[in-house]
């Protein structure tokens, strides 16, 4: 007779301890990439959605999740990929945004995802003062975009015109 399965709630708590391999200050649940946890008989099924389709961290994330659950005594884990609805930065928790900022990465500003019309987006960005990307180091809003892509596909490269520090901005998708 097998012991009772750990509850789904416990598993979510354990997953909240699994750091993102690229940005270890946030967990995989903070990022909103774990979409579902459910038991299928004696197998635990964890449904994960990729951030970017080519994100090289995806494999590492899956291994980390599997390892963490194995360490908790769950022997049979199946990871499933879910593409739809596509991952959005809107799913990054408030707490995670605070952690990102403290780590030196400006968190995403909701509602500014690319729609293929850069000019329109610049207008939208510049029309509201609260939409400026603030420097995570000194808080200045006198910042400028250096490149649409930063150290990973999910980030853009910015520079602060006050403290002159370059920084990553977790861009909206």
């Amino acid at each position: 007779m097998a012991a009772a399965h750990p509850s789904v709630k416990d598993i979510w708590d354990w997953l909240a301890q699994v750091p993102d391999p690229e940005i270890p200050v946030v967990s995989v649940t903070d990022l909103g990439i774990v979409r579902d946890v459910a038991w299928d008989g004696d197998t635990l099924v964890v449904t994960v959605t990729p951030t970017y389709s080519g994100c090289p961290a995806t494999t590492a994330i899956n291994l980390d999740i599997e390892q963490a659950l194995n360490d908790k005594g769950i022997e049979s884990v199946r990871l499933e990929r879910r593409l739809s609805p596509a991952w959005t930065t809107d799913w990054i928790s408030t707490e995670a945004r605070r952690k990102l900022n403290a780590y030196g990465i400006a968190p995403p500003i909701d509602g500014t995802a690319a729609d293929g019309r850069l000019l329109k987006r610049i207008e939208r960005l510049s029309s509201g003062s609260n939409l400026t990307v603030a420097c995570p180091r000194c808080g200045s809003t006198r910042t400028e975009k250096i490149s649409q892509f930063g150290s990973t596909p999910c980030k853009a490269n910015y520079r602060c015109r006050d403290c002159l520090e370059p920084f990553d901005y977790f861009k909206c998708i």
Partner: protein, 261 residues
């Protein structure tokens, strides 16, 4: 005829496989071209941006070719399709295999492709095949960024110095004859369009024309006249460029079959 049942529509499996190969091969071959810039771009930020764009496209390739293998039903994986097909079996647009040229030419090629990619992915989000709609939804978010970036650079370089303007106009004139192929329909396209799986290629032209005309006008570049258009990629008839690309792309799997790391 083997058919795949999708919703209420029955679609010729071979037509669907062809379509998925085309979509995946476009992403794969262009990603390979972009990756050739790694370590060589004019500025570190540009180097990183090109590599990231290539990475997005390789991710999309895995999804499209993965689905192609599933539809084919012969047990071929995305890797098998990418590494073990010869040039005649590739279905990418000739535009994607054009050599990089200078940085401006690479960005012009990217812009002409991104504008089309953006339009077709938006159309595919409404595909009657839910698997295609899901991949398109994911990919279109990434491609929106690609388009914003390549459009921005075409404008900055086109409306830049006399030198950059001249190079961008030359790049545009050189690449223009490779754009017509995007809108050429094959017999298999009609079946897919009738089933609501994918749009007729011609139906994408008006939106593409508008996107391109707007950017070229801001960039002070002159849209070339539509003359002779090269085609053949969608049927596997490629320029000699593809052979060189595959020699590099596939070398490892050809020399050491099944190698992993």
């Amino acid at each position: 005829m083997t058919t795949a049942i999708i919703g209420e529509a029955a679609v010729d499996r071979a037509a669907l496989f062809e379509f998925l190969l085309r979509t995946g091969d476009n992403a794969l071959i262009l990603a390979h071209r972009l990756s050739e810039w790694c370590g060589h771009a004019p500025a570190l930020e540009e180097d990183i941006a090109l590599a990231n764009t290539a990475l997005d496209l390789i991710g999309q390739t895995q999804l499209w070719l993965g689905l192609a293998g599933e539809v084919e039903g012969g047990g071929r994986s995305a890797d098998d399709l990418a590494y073990l097909r010869d040039a005649r079996e590739f279905r990418n647009l000739l535009l994607t295999e054009r050599p990089n040229g200078d940085y401006g030419k690479t960005m012009m090629r990217q812009f002409l492709f991104d504008a089309w990619h953006y339009v077709i992915l938006n159309a595919l989000r409404a595909s009657s095949d839910v698997r295609i709609a899901e991949i398109a939804e994911k990919a279109s978010k990434e491609v929106s960024y690609h388009l914003e970036r390549s459009r921005d650079l075409v404008i900055r370089l086109g409306d830049g110095t006399a030198e950059s303007h001249a190079r961008m106009q030359e790049a545009l004139d050189d690449l223009w004859p490779y754009t017509g192929e995007m809108f050429v329909g094959e017999t298999s396209d009609e079946a897919l369009a009738a089933a609501g799986v994918a749009p007729e290629p011609q139906s994408l032209k008006a939106e593409w024309d508008a996107l391109v005309a707007e950017a070229l006008s801001v960039a002070t570049l002159k849209r070339p006249a539509d003359g002779h258009m090269h085609k053949g990629g969608k049927r596997g008839i490629h320029t000699e460029q593809l052979g060189y690309i595959l020699a590099e792309l596939q070398f490892l799997q050809r020399a050491y079959p099944g190698a992993t790391w």
